[in-house]
């Protein structure tokens, strides 16, 4: 059973399009995250939700909008895609986000903007 699953695994699209990435976790965790990993493997937190409430919102363009319909899902919608959005996006989840518990990651969505 996949603990944190993201879809799609690959996403190739044109500049200016709008796309969504979905994430689901079956671990019963309270907190979910979105990260962006660039070509140099640097991981940057984008958003975090705890029990469907936004708790971390880093300096991310407002073209990126997370949505959490329930605590098992955290989707990422991106409007007006730009070349610089090309990266690997990782979803993660953890229990008790502030208390020091490991985050569990999905296998990433590789977004390529043409």
């Amino acid at each position: 059973d996949t603990a944190v699953s993201q879809t799609p695994k690959y996403l190739v699209t044109q500049m200016g399009n709008d796309k969504s990435i979905k994430c689901e976790q079956n671990l019963g965790h309270d907190t979910m995250y979105w990260y962006k990993q660039d070509s140099k493997k640097f991981l940057k937190i984008m958003f975090s939700y705890n029990n469907k409430e936004l708790i971390i919102n880093e300096t991310v363009p407002n073209r990126f909008s997370p949505k959490s319909p329930d605590k098992a899902h955290l989707n990422l919608h991106i409007n007006s895609l730009e070349l610089g959005d090309s990266a690997v996006y990782f979803c993660a989840s953890s229990q008790e986000g502030a208390m020091g518990q490991p985050q569990h990651f999905g296998d990433g969505t590789r977004l390529s903007i043409l």
């Binding site: 907190t31 493997k41 640097f42 708790i55 971390i56 502030a98 990651f105 999905g106 296998d107 990433g108």
Partner: protein, 112 residues
């Protein structure tokens, strides 16, 4: 902001030898530290964590050492195997903050 950094971006180790991956951090208030392994095409995978009230923790073939005096964290992998080839990340957090602060990653290469 304060960063968690790694001394070596790439580490080559002979198969069967021990590997030591180092990490420096600058936030003395950090009280939780964690190591991840990321294989090609996959997400980061939790290896081991340690809290600031400890200075050593062991897992299966891995040991994490924490030196709070010099703000240094290391991951030791015993009898390195080809399957250990990956990028290794350290990360830190404070109790009051949900956010993990990530290091830049070290690529571990295993020589046959």
């Amino acid at each position: 902001g304060e960063n968690v950094g790694l001394h070596l971006p790439t580490l080559s180790v002979q198969e069967g030898d021990n590997s030591i991956i180092n990490c420096a951090y600058s936030n003395s208030a950090s009280d939780y530290f964690i190591w991840y392994k990321q294989e090609s095409g996959k997400g980061p995978q939790f290896i081991i964590d340690i809290r600031s009230n400890m200075d050593k923790r062991q897992g299966q073939r891995v040991t994490v050492l924490l030196n709070k005096t010099v703000k240094h964290l290391s991951l030791q992998i015993a009898a390195t195997q080809p399957g250990d080839s990956a990028v290794y990340f350290c990360a830190e957090k404070t109790d009051s903050n949900y956010q993990l602060i990530w290091g830049a990653g070290t690529k571990l290469i295993i020589k046959p």
